[in-house]
Structure formats: structure tokens, C-alpha cells
Amino acid sequence: MADITKSPWIMHYDASSCNGCDIEVLACLTPLYDVERFGIINTGNPKHADILLITGSVNTQNQEVVKQLYEQMPEPKVVVAIGICACNGGVFKECYNVLGGVDKVIPVDVYVPGCAARPQSIVDGVVKGLGVLKEKREAMKKKA
């Protein structure tokens, strides 16, 4: 925890989730779980965001939206897939309008399983994401 020096901003997108994970993501931001204590702020603007929290699996219609959001985020960026649907499609895997996990469309750095994912594991996933973000930032510095 002591090595967290930056305040990463997160953005949440609901791909085709059932709301279960979405409300748990929101619950994380409210006082009881409070990820804001790590300096994290929820933003709606992809250009402000460092971490993309994505819930639900992708389908043909929203895969473009997901791609665009991801491309608009500045480097370095981290994608956290929340819930089993975002990881691999979950209970809806066999549905005709579900392509599968988010990693079919964009690279995913942290997978948070669960149906719905518990706030504790979401917070854990975000903190793991902070580690990945740091590594990516350092890799970028070396390159430059």
C-alpha cells in the first residue's frame, strides 16, 4: 500500500452485465468500501481515465463501443474485467448474442471472478491494477 504514489482515475463501462457487478462497482465507491481512499476517482470521460473497469460480456453491438473507449484512454492504461461474464461469458456464454469475455476485444490485465463479484474482490482487483499500472509506467519511461 505504501508504494502507491499516484491517484489513478477509473472509468466504468457496462458491456452486457446484469447490473449485479455494476452496483457492486458503485458500492465500492460509496463510504463503506470507499476506493476513493486510494486516491481513486470515478470519471465518465475516457480521456481522464487510467483504469477501465468493465463488467459483463461483449456482444456484436457493444464491441465497437468497448474498443473506442479503450483507444481513447491515454497510455499507460489498465483494464480490469469484473465478474465472471467479463472474464469468459459466464452463465450467458451460450446465448446467441454473446461473444464471450472482454479479452476477445481488448487486452485485459486483471480478472476479477465472481457472480456478482464481491466489493472486497473488486477493491483487490483495482489495487492489483495499480501495480500493473506502475509497471507499465516504468516500462514507458525506460523506452523514452
Binding site: 458491456a15 446484469c18 447490473n19 458500492a27 460509496t30 456482444n59 453491438q61 452463465v91 450467458f92 464481491r118
Partner: protein, 360 residues
Amino acid sequence: MGNRSVIPFGPQHPVLPEPIHLDLVIEDEKVVQAIPNIGFIHRGLEKLVQKRDFTDYGYVVERICGICSYIHGMSYYEVIEHIMGIEIPERAKYLRTIWSEMSRVHSHLLWLGLLADGFGFEALFYQCWRLREKVLDMFEASTGGRVVFSVNTIGGVLKDMDSSMLKSFVDIFQDMDKEIHKCCDIFLKDYTVETRLKDVGILTKENAVLLGAVGPTMRGSGIAVDTRKKYSYAAYDKLDFEPCVAYEGDSFARCLVRIEELYQSIDLIRQAVDKIPAGDIITPYKGKPNGEFMFRAEQPRGEAIYYGKANGTNHLERFRIRTPTFANITPMLNILAGAQLADVPILVLTIDPCISCTER
């Protein structure tokens, strides 16, 4: 005649966590017409009924939506029980009622929070969600799950609550009642809130019927219809309550109905705990369903319709869910026409949209 232009609203936007896209045709600042554009979270789970056994499909139905999950699951099993002619034990009926009402409390608190966030009152949003966490803790204590808790099954429920747990829940709700009063007084009396909600987005009584509104959206327009009252499923026929109504039809009326329903739900839980009989919680069953049934339940967002058709095999032929938001979309379009562009987020929120439910 001002300049006409079309503004796309959504799918990714700050007011709702869920994706919905509206094409707003506006004239200067005034919305002339709104055209919905859905399908971002359509999964097609009604089709899954042909791939899953009727005993397993309930788990899929529960995952239509994470907010209304409990009542969706319960209604699926009610349909199967009606088709198969299974009479569930009295105690199970009461337990279903208690969990249903707890779901309503959590859903309405969630909505109040989102509404507060919608008009920029962040502290109130956090207070509502803080209260909501207490309900989720009770869910966790009684079922093991916070959001989706597959506690129903064909013939009854899987988990029982002992009397000390039930009593402790009533005590927690008693304390919450005071805190909810404090929060809701702000919604009902605060000047800022009033200016955002009063006389905004009026849905007349005639339009509410014609456009097929359901739930608090309908009751906010002066129609005292509550599915729990009319088709008393679970143990609602043994409890004493009247539908909550408001007559103005504006955003404030819809907010008022939901606040009153919060108190009503707490009262219903108290009544159910007083009356709950001892006994079994599950009736064993044999065979496979054959026949059809249509079931109506009152979700936090309004009346939901569940239609099941079985043919005596392991798979149902059809299971159809008409969710309350699907019915409330047309009234929402009516409310939006004529509104100011800046009011659109609040107006969309006042029907308590649940897009996951709508698109399934």
C-alpha cells in the same frame, strides 16, 4: 421555430451505470421527440430455456438483473409450481415475502441514491447507499449472497431464518426507519430538490393508462394499482397494506411513491415476521411440468409478467419475461417530449430504468 438538431444520449454516460441510447430531437433547448435505441446488453437469455433443464433455468432467470434478481427468481419458480400444481409450505411463502420486501427496500434506496447523484447531491447519494448496505448485510446473513442469492427452488426455499435472526432484522429495520426518515425528509422538503422535481416531467393519468405505465410510474399518476394487492402471491393476502399513490404525475410524485413504499415495505416485513408460522420450508415434488401459466409479480419497478409453457420434457418450450422497464419506456418517451435538455437525465431516472431487465 428554433433550430432543430439531434443529440445522441448515451450509451456510456455519467448518470446511469447502464447503457441506453436515446436520440433526442431538440429545438433550441427543448426536446421535441426522443427515440430509444436499445440492444447494447441484449443477451437473448429467453432462448437459453431450450438448452438448460427446467430445474437449472432459475439460475439464469435470477441473472436477468442484479437489482431485481430475487423477485425474478421467485417468479420463475412460482410459474413452475403453478404448472406442476405444487403447493408450497406456508412458512416458505412468508420467507419469500420477507425477502421480496427486503429487495424492494434495497432497490428503492439505490434509486434514491442515483436520483440524488442525478441532481448533483453527492452527500445524499452516499447516505442512501450507506443505508442500503445494511439491507445487503442482512441478505448476506440470511442467504450468503449480497446481490444474487439463489435461495428459491421448486417447491419452496432452501434456507430458513430462525426467530432470533428474524427479530434482529426487524430491529435493524426499526433503526433504519429513523435514518430513512432523515434522508427522505431532504427529498421531500429541500428547496433545491423541489425545484428539480416539482412540475417536471408530468405524466397524466390518461397517458399512464394508454402508454401502459406500471409500478411507481403509474401510481405516481394517481392509479392505485398494485399487483401484490390484486394477485396476492406469496403471503401478501395475509398482510395488511394499501397501494401507495400520488396524484400529481410529476417527478416529485414518483419520488414520493417510492419513499412511501420504503416505509410500507418495512411495515410489511414487520407484519410478516409477526405472523410467520413454524413448519417446513420445502415441498418435495415429482415429475416434469406440462402446461402453461402466466404469473404477475410486483417488482420494485412495477408489474412484471412471467409466462411459461412446458411440454412434459426437461426443457420448457418458452419462458417469457416482460419486465417493468420495458413497459415504462413508452411513458418515458412521453415524459421526455417537451422537457428541457438539462432535465433529461433526471427524467430518465424517474421511471427507475433497469436496462438489463429490459433487454434480457
